[in-house]
């Protein structure tokens, strides 16, 4: 039997793409008690088998999985009403080729004058970059649901801009989105020298790296800005960003 009128068949063509999650990793990093007014750190590398870098979002816990925070949260200690210890434990990651390197940093509490050994338990969701090509995803125990009855964060714009970290010149890059509202934005710095994918704002105190870049958003524009006074590294690269349709 042939289809009499194929133009009457409506095809559900999704209007927007979503982040494509290709794996979930988890682990833990034990940091020793730091020296006074200093920090300790630990790191580990996961070989994803992808052979190339992808994007990722991670969470970590300092209390064995009761409370979770996003990578980079640094977990300030606000228990003393008269002083804030801005950092206790942080966990973050970068990706080079197919290797995800996770770093945990544990700070001395200069308010209470205490030094505590801490363990960061973490989980990382890996997802593809634009035009990543063919990657065999890792097995995931959770159900990957993409039924159309559920809403996933949808990508409005997925691109990159040249942006180099500089201690001598201010850096600015703008992206027009014209959505008419304040959208959500995620962004990574990709180094030109080795292609390492680094979340904006990533800090590795032990390695002396700080990738803090301001991400300013209004109803028409996303602006990436770094003032030279606030930079600590000189690195050429690009910012890969996603502007999401969801507010």
């Amino acid at each position: 039997m042939s289809i009499a009128d194929h133009t009457a068949i409506a095809m559900a063509v999704p209007a927007y793409d979503t982040d494509k999650i290709i794996g979930v990793l988890e682990g833990s990093l034990a940091c020793s008690a730091p020296a006074a007014f200093s920090f300790s750190s630990a790191n580990t590398t996961h070989d994803t088998g992808f052979g190339e870098a992808c994007l990722f979002q991670g969470i970590f816990s300092m209390d064995g999985g009761t409370t979770w925070n996003d990578f980079g949260a640094q977990l300030p200690d606000t228990s003393d009403s008269s002083f804030v210890q801005p950092q206790t434990l942080d966990c973050n990651a970068t990706m080079l080729d197919g290797d995800l390197r996770v770093v945990a940093t544990n700070w001395y509490n200069s308010v209470a004058s205490t030094s505590t050994a801490r363990t960061a338990t973490y989980k990382v969701a890996l997802y593809t970059r634009k035009n990543q090509g063919d990657i065999e995803r890792l097995p995931i125990s959770q159900v990957l649901a993409y039924r159309t009855s559920r809403n996933f964060q949808k990508i409005a714009f997925d691109d990159s801009v040249a942006f180099s970290l500089s201690t001598s010149d201010d850096q600015t890059a703008t992206v027009l989105h014209n959505l008419g509202y304040i959208p959500r934005v995620r962004a990574f710095f990709v180094r030109d020298d080795n292609g390492r994918v680094v979340p904006l704002g990533f800090v590795d105190a032990a390695a002396g790296e700080d990738y803090y870049v301001e991400v300013r958003v209004d109803t028409t524009t996303v602006t990436f800005f770094q003032d030279a006074s606030f930079a600590s590294m000189n690195v050429a690269g690009r910012i890969e960003y996603r502007v999401y349709l969801d507010d």
Partner: protein
């Protein structure tokens, strides 16, 4: 070529305008509206090398989720994405001054249980008394479930 005996009984039309792409793997679930909050910072004279602290707390369950938080200081016309959990904004009066800020506004984002806290510090930088204008710290936060 359809198999013999199979007929098309009806045409299903789907409004695809609002569909997320059904691609090979799932994304981050977005099934909660953003939550917002704010705190007012009063005009004040900050004593040398001191800071004042202002918190915004939101009830949010981030179990198996990643979050995205943006912060607006009403002295600015834009929102700052709390990249890796922090925002840093140096000021002189009502304008940015990176080279010689008289005070710095910084915010940190963290969860404790099912409470999101955005702690904002207004830090005096000059070693003398600094006038800080009144402004509001506005916060917008969302959580997105991941297959953790």
């Amino acid at each position: 070529m359809w198999p013999a005996g199979l007929s098309i009984g009806s045409i299903l039309t789907i409004n695809f305008g609002n569909l997320a792409a059904t691609s090979a793997a799932a994304g981050f679930l977005n099934e909660e509206r953003p939550k917002t909050g704010s705190v007012d910072v009063p005009a004040q004279n900050l004593a040398a090398d001191t800071y004042k602290r202002y918190d915004v707390t939101l009830s949010m369950d981030n179990a198996n989720a990643i979050s995205q938080v943006s912060v607006n200081y009403s002295l600015e016309t834009f929102w700052n994405v709390a990249i890796s959990g922090k925002v840093i904004a140096p000021f002189d009066g009502s304008s940015h001054d990176y080279a010689s800020p008289t005070y710095t506004v910084s915010s940190q984002v963290f969860f404790s249980g099912t409470t999101l806290t955005v702690i904002t510090l207004v830090q005096e930088n000059t070693g003398g008394t600094t006038a800080v204008p009144a402004f509001t710290v506005n916060v917008s936060a969302s959580v997105f479930e991941a297959p953790f």
